[in-house]
Amino acid sequence: MKKVKRSSILILGVSLLVLSISLGNTFANTSKLEDTVVKETTVTKAETNLKTVSIEGNYVQVNSAKELYDNAELIIIAEPIENFMDRNHEATYSGDNSLEDYYTETLVNVTEVIKKPQHLAVETSKTFSIVEPAVGIVKNNAGEQIKIVTDSYTEMKKDMSYLIFLQKNINGDYSVTYNTLGKYNIDNKDLDDLGSSVSVNSHHHAEDLVKKKEFKKELQSIIGF
């Protein structure tokens, strides 16, 4: 009888221990989530009110950071000087007035030029206009502005520092390459860039983020930022 009682108490004790560990983990995960929410990137009020629509595209694939480096015509470290809402947002439409393409012109202050075409006038400590082709602002049917993004892209933020890979586009402008793989926040202020902000997780593709983290590590050894 005593034996049964002892083993029952032992089983009950182990069960309660497992139960408390499980509950502890659950609460720990919840508080981690709350921490992330608190750390969300600061954006302007107008940006916060903007509805974001994310659509999927088919991108040419790049398999290594070395390939990303080699394919870029221009590589700079730079900081956007305007808030996203204050930038120039362009859209093009087809013959029947359907939205065909969108992009954002982002003015940046160049802090370092890593690779450039011989005759391109891009200099350190001067501003340069680049294109973020995977994000734009368009109007929906009711005339309300919406932010539209392709795949996992998030716009570069004012006064934050980025390593940016660019190629000349159809309009002769320098455009960020390969969606989110073409820009890396290097001062770790932009929590959206590697998907650590809850606000952008809904449209981040997990596989893109894994690739981006690998590329960032590889780029740190190639470029040394």
Partner: protein, 189 residues
């Protein structure tokens, strides 16, 4: 009574441990929610031509072959028509130097919506300037059109599948694979 209480705690513990160990989200390779189907129409831009290895092709042929990859599969109809809410296929150009195509889903209020929402129709674009800059062949452009039309039936870029799929991103020369059709059936049947 005591035994029942012990059993209750043991079962509860097992459930909670399982919740911790098992992944909390599953990764289906198709988008959630549904959509309406009012057929497909072609914009005049699909008569754009391109030249590869000295031979001239037009996008009408590529789109037509791509549409047939999905039409009638899993009980879905992508038949050609002229309804105001039919999906429309376009050939365009983009400021993005590495983007081959994308889709714009629209809801019942005629507003753009995300991939996991309810759709009324979809506008499909493949980008001639980028495909030409990569000197893509007819088969590669057809494959790109098949990929984009795959999105119109809610197919997603595969998260971790390593086999053959037209829904993988990048330049390919294939149509929809057996696996793609399996995903389509999982989504719609």
């Amino acid at each position: 009574m005591k035994n029942k209480l012990i059993k209750f705690f043991m079962v509860l513990s097992l459930i909670l441990v399982s919740m911790q160990l098992l992944p909390t989200t599953s990764h289906a390779d198709y988008h959630s929610n549904s959509r309406s189907f009012y057929g497909v129409k072609y914009d005049s831009s699909i008569y754009t031509t391109f030249t590869y290895s000295g031979v001239t092709y037009n996008y009408w042929d590529a789109y037509e072959a791509a549409r047939k990859q999905w039409d009638g599969k899993a009980g879905l109809s992508l038949a050609k028509g002229s309804h105001a809410w039919a999906d429309t296929y376009y050939v365009g150009s983009t400021s993005d130097p590495n983007l081959l195509g994308k889709v714009f889903p629209v809801n019942g209020s005629q507003d753009f919506v995300g991939m996991d929402q309810q759709w009324l129709y979809v506008k499909v674009y493949i980008y001639n300037n980028v495909m030409s800059s990569y000197n893509m062949s007819y088969n590669q452009r057809y494959s790109n059109a098949t990929h984009e039309i795959g999105h119109t039936v809610k197919m997603k870029h595969p998260a971790s599948y390593t086999g053959t799929s037209v829904m993988k991103q990048g330049i390919q020369s294939i149509g929809a694979s057996t696996w793609d059709y399996q995903q389509l059936n999982l989504k719609w049947n």
